[in-house]
Symmetry: C2
Subunit: 430 residues, 2 copies
């Protein structure tokens, strides 16, 4: 059974803190293993990559077969169900239309001192996209990672995906094809991250690595951070549904379960001001669980980490929302807009009863790679900015240097950096 | 002597690769020590913080004296030299004027399917700013970190600064006052990072930690990443000057030394198409070194990591610039603008002979916290965006859900996520 809290109860703060600090993930200590794999791939390149792939993915490769060929990709597209292909194309078009709006503007202005300042955005020169193999190999995630990179103008997008025993989801290749991925290699794990960061004879290194993965992949990304850029470290997914008494309990239950079915470590929380809705949703969840293919996963997530919280009003729930800082926030209430405006911390907000979170996972347009585990307090979802970087630009005329240079000389001297001061004063003859 | 390369030489590629991969920093392995300090502060709070401060900073504190009082700050401001205060105020005003332009726009649009999508930027609720003590305690860095946070609208800005033996640079306190820092604590090292991340009875936790520090601080920031956000891990600083035969060799030398005086691990590189300039700059550096207070540091940096590279033209140097991805790039040439437009990877570009890099360190306006150690390939300098996060927003009308919902159902089923599919189909009676 999920935990049930009442914000009016005396022990609520204690219980809520316990909910906030519940550790949903066992952090496996794989760092030492990962360190050795990375060092080995950095030293032996393709050879090491091929060895690890034989050992972990039970697959014999050569430098020539590391890369998935254009013919294989075409065959996968040809073999994919037409309906799924069409859905992927719709998703790609909508994700693209949303992300195009995220492209930032360059800036240049000249102030009264005669200083011209501004900045310029440029695309990262090459990006590696990690795609998990097996059951967590989602074509939708390929789109969500690759499309913003393409919109940003990244010239080279490389994908790595493990294909244990030679098996790969053809729709993952189709999604890569639709999104415009340039190169695909059939490798995974820490060894694939190492290859992307250090490069091998076959795989040229990239400047940034994005995409979800298991504990080994996450540890490898942490280790290569600095040599290359990385995106966030993804944790288990969560949804918080804020609903009043008018919400449809079956719909709310369906949305809670859509989160719970991801992973036994996923978390689904309902906050409501209606005890009747709370009861009805709890009952509806039990009913819907019975017919769910992934009911074992969803039940464990709901029982271990699910929560129903009663608050005097939905407004009174806002501070709790900000403390939870959910990856996904659904607001099912006629006051959804006004409530959303008061929220500071959430990865994505879904407004009204016709916006189930799953729409955002696939075809809504916004990115489904979002900050998990309370990191929406300080982080954003994936977007075009993650594939760009900003260069600041400054130009002083001689008059401008005369105007602002003396203050720089003062500060350089104050900080004991005489060569800083001199690099200005030498130009001003002071 | 700095290394001297010629792009036309047969062994240039090998020599250039060696320059690129030169390890300038000894990475001390302090992770185990830092792990224990963080665990201790998380467990014992103020008590642990006070113990470590006694041990490392030779200072006896109580929970009441952890915080630097408003009276102490006022006294520091009163004691500060007027000229330095005025320079800091000019710097603050110029940094603010530049960063205000970085504030991003919210977005909301409704497409033909009836889907309303967009995003909203919100400020991070609280930010901790680490300021080093001792000789690397720079008031300019306080401004560069705190002003963008203030511009972003961060409601609570907390500063920590070690004060070994009770000594603090009054201008650091004055800069914090000018920038609008809300709370200042006289603690440093891994223990201060731990206090900011986990909170203590006296120091409420923050959501993100920024600012430079030594190996212990960097390791602590890596460790608390995830619990809180962090900025980049700063490495030693570097400048690359691209100059043609018209450049003033004394000015170029002054700028190379302004970088070299930071740190023995700093790097100063000149790329020129003029052998005469190369020779004149080398001579000028030797001359200027003689009168530099920090000549020991600057000489070691220049001898160990300095480089002068000859290229057939400045255009031919652009691919080398992108591979070096310098933190600071100066272009001293009448063609500076056209050359800058071709550069992909640089943290900041300084155009023309009247824009020494030191102007950007203090009063130019752009941020001086920039990506080091080749990370300009994938990272940007500090800015307002580092203190904001983006929440995506989605709303479907019933018609919109009818239009795009079926594709989401298809993809949910395709990915084996039946509860995802159901959360859409249950609303459509399909």
């Amino acid at each position: 059974m999920p935990v049930r809290l009442d914000a009016r109860a005396d022990d609520f703060e204690t219980a809520f803190r316990a909910l906030l600090s519940a550790k949903r993930e066992v952090s496996e200590d794989v760092d030492a293993i990962v360190r050795d794999i990375i060092a080995d791939v950095a030293a032996r390149g393709d050879e090491a990559l091929i060895d690890y792939t034989a050992r972990f993915d039970n697959q014999t490769l050569t430098p020539e077969t590391l890369r998935i060929s254009p013919a294989e990709i075409e065959a996968a597209v040809a073999a994919a169900p037409q309906e799924a292909l069409e859905a992927l194309k719709l998703a790609k078009a909508r994700i693209e239309a949303y992300h195009v709006r995220q492209k930032p503007q360059d800036e240049s202005f000249t102030d009264e001192a005669g200083v011209t300042a501004g900045w310029r955005w440029t695309a990262i020169e090459s990006v590696g996209l990690y795609v998990p193999g097996g059951t967590a190999s989602y074509p939708s995630s390929v789109l969500m990672n690759a499309v913003p990179a393409r919109v940003a103008g990244v010239p080279r997008i490389v994908m790595v995906v493990p294909t244990p025993g030679g098996v790969i989801n053809p729709l993952v290749l189709a999604a890569a094809h639709i999104a415009g991925v340039d190169e695909i290699y059939r490798v995974g794990g820490a060894q694939a991250v190492a290859a992307l960061a250090h490069g091998t004879a076959t795989i040229a290194p990239v400047a940034k690595i994005v995409g979800p993965g298991n504990a080994y992949v996450a540890a490898a990304k942490r280790r290569v951070f600095g040599l290359v850029g990385i995106d966030m470290i993804a944790g288990p997914s969560e949804v918080l549904i804020l609903a009043d008494g008018e919400a449809n309990p079956e719909w709310v239950a369906a949305d809670l379960l859509a989160q719970a079915e991801h992973d036994t470590a996923a978390q689904s929380i309902l906050i409501t001001n209606s005890e009747a809705l709370a009861d009805a949703v709890a009952t509806a969840v039990e009913g819907q669980l019975l017919t769910l293919p992934r009911q074992d996963i969803a039940r464990k997530s709901w029982d271990d980490f699910g929560a129903i919280i009663l608050t005097p009003s939905l407004e009174a729930a806002i501070p709790l929302v900000d403390r939870i800082a959910p990856e996904h926030l659904e607001i099912e209430s006629p006051q959804a807009d006004a409530l959303a405006a008061q929220v500071r911390n959430a990865g994505a907000i879904f407004l009204g009863q016709y916006t189930p979170e799953a729409i955002g996972d696939y075809v809504g347009g916004p990115n489904h790679v979002l900050p998990t585990a309370r990191s929406a307090r300080f982080a954003s979802g994936l977007g075009v900015l993650d594939f760009l970087k900003r260069t600041s630009i400054l130009r002083c005329s001689v008059e401008a240097l005369r105007a602002i240079g003396p203050a720089a000389v003062t500060l350089g001297e104050t900080e004991g950096l005489q060569a800083h001061a001199r690099s200005v004063s030498i130009r001003l003859n002071i």
